[in-house]
Amino acid sequence: MFSSFRIQRLPSSHPGIALAARLAAIVIALVVAGVGIALAGMNPFDLGARVITASFGSSFGMEDLGVLVIPLILTGLAVAVGQQVGAWNIGAEGQFYAGAFAASAVGLFVPGEGPLILILMFVAGLVGGAAWILIPTLARAYANVNELITTLLLNFVATLLVYYVATGPWRDRSGMANSATPPLSTSVPEFWGIVHWGFPIAIGLAILVGAALAFSRWGYEVRLVGSNPSAAKYAGIPVRKHLIMVMLLSGAIAGLAGMLEIAGTVHRLQGGISNNFGYLGIMVAVLARGSPIGVIFSGAFMALILNSGIVLQTQGLTTSVVLAITGFILFLTAIGDELSYYRITREKPEGAA
């Protein structure tokens, strides 16, 4: 009498099992990466220890993480907010640049400094990001043009635009560096080491958006529009208005990420300033399964991985190896997510009680 095994796909996954699957995925990825590193002739334990001391061993390491997490949470939040209303904003990268661009314009050309300028820059960042998603939004809302492609294409435009002004008309003519603007007149103040006030703003915004979605009439309506527009229409909810507002909000949040990056971290505008934060935001949102609160955690996780990557590079690993390891961890996490829907049961032999 043998017992047999069955594999079942469950309609929903148990949260505990989903978490365990993720942890297992990370462990497996690290083991595989370790083996790879060992094959390349380096000591994986040694490297691992260094990554851990570099990230958590000093307040400098923690501060680096703190700065890195801000744009990741915000771009992740931007994508997650879009998902809530059923829109895939692949253009957080472009909106990030647009927000950075608009805020820099204020910081460079509006005379004066201090809180007033900072507020202006803040608003410019939001408006810049929203403006950058305006056309894809209207195209989706009025002509049902898929936002996936339109938002993606505008990324290239924004990247090139910032590169152009930073190396051309807005170039810093005083200094040696000719691929960046002069320093901005105003910055976001720091509140802990090099970590600026963008940190609490990012976390606060994620919580605020999460709470608004869960506990307001607006949030209810947005969820309904995102899940089934025909049902929302049937219930008399203005589908188009919500779609437009939420997509603009998504763009504004990504624009804010760009503003905080230039005004808080880099202090000037330069090409390539986004470091792919917009694209990483897509992964952050997917890892969080579209939950605004979840974005805080997946953003932190992503920051840790990226930071480890930076540490590894200083230890002589090439960028591509680091990227491969990063991608591998994310890939396995996604597989772990899917596997958490399955259950293996052992069937009792015939006649057993």
Binding site: I7, S12, L224, A231, G236
Partner: protein
Amino acid sequence: MTEAEKSFTPPPGTAPIVQLKGIAKYFPGVIANEDVDLEVMPGEIHALLGENGAGKSTLMNILTGIYQADAGEIIIDGYRQEFASPVQAIAAGIGMVHQHFKLVQAFTVAENIHLGWDETPKRASKSVLESRTEDLAKRYNLATRPGATVSDLSTGEQQRVEILRVLARRARLLILDEPTAVLTPAEARELFRALRDFVAEGNAVIFISHKLDEVMEISDRVSILRGGRKIATRDTRNCNAHMLANLMVGREIVLADMRGRGPHAAPISKDPVLVLDDVCVASGTGGNALDQVNLKLHAGEILGIAGVAGNGQRELSQVLTGVKAASSGKVIVDGTHMKSANAKIFADFGIGHIPEDRLHSGLAPALSITTNAVMREYDQAPVSPHGIYNPRSATRLAREIAEAAEVMIPDYGMPVRNLSGGNQQRLVARREMRIADKVLVAAYPSRGLDVGAINTMLRYIVELRDAGAGVVLISEELEELLNLSDRIAVLYEGKVMGVVENDNLDIEEIGLLMGGRTKAGEVA
């Protein structure tokens, strides 16, 4: 009942095509199936009956590999089988057509037939696929238009494509989950003919339906589920509809004429609550889905809308509830001309709407039962006091609605699509009746409900009427209309062919009107 002329009688000792033994399936808090035994013989049409939530769809989902049983076995031609997916089930000759079709709307019929099929030629041109489809359609006697896009097909045609898809993969057992709920009577007759041809070749059909007359007409044997357990299998010829209903529900059911009003019933109002004045609604294809419709609905009356489905019923219910604007003419609610469509204003005024396709427009299938149940009241106290949406109060309201609808729900947080088809319908109906102080527009409200639930539903509609609401009842069941309505309007190709008082009315006249003729014989 009607004896099949050509029938297939398996020689004695033939193994059943499918045998289920001791099947059980548990969902959190629900016993969907337990200890179910079922045998389906070659050549038979086997009906599966049971109340809403009895476990019919679940059992068939197990047989086709969508779910896996928690206990029991599936035996096919004498061999034990396990299906991890529908692909394996169809490879073993078991195919299913679901209550909600799974065709790709943007593809042609031929493409849908060949999608995900291992016999599809590797590099096939459009015309090859279409001629292959043509051949299949001929072989199985299911008329289709291979080149047409699925979204342009009527419901009946789409169903034929679904069936053809299954038969093309050499199914020997065809499972149909409430196939006739969405068909016109003529389409249903055509379907039955195709089914008889199919089983005459030694194949078998499992047929789920709530329409007992149909079951009596088409099936050879019937099995009845109650509370997840099979309680009986009978030869249909030894049964009658009344008996089956009793077996299913476990109590006596009386369908009655409900036009009689009690002493406390509200009288029919003098002024109408809802008026359509020369209303046209443009259809997607350039014509008019509704053509100069004039209707008056009074408080305290039930206005029946008869007609074959697809003659403008959907647009009529949408225009009456503010989901769609009239392209010309006036919609007048309680004396006010509504210039634009806004379903919220209509709902706030007290107009409830049971839509014809609950899954598409009445519910958000992926969202929780709570979210769906409060769809009409989420913006008021107690769910949203001071504009703050309170999930706990929402669940309390959802529970209230579910209890009134007599739906057992183990977890209000689970997606509403996990409910059985009939239970979704009950929930939507109760949700709408709660807000229907003035008007209820009910499109096919009894679709997918079991006999007991239909009875309850119709009684509630009568209670609404007695409380002074006006009811528009859109239905294909003439009997239902005759039992309930005060007046009956007949819809044909978007036009109201006539409105007749429902006393001593001439059924023949209604039939003629439904076909687009008037008594004098002229064609509209």
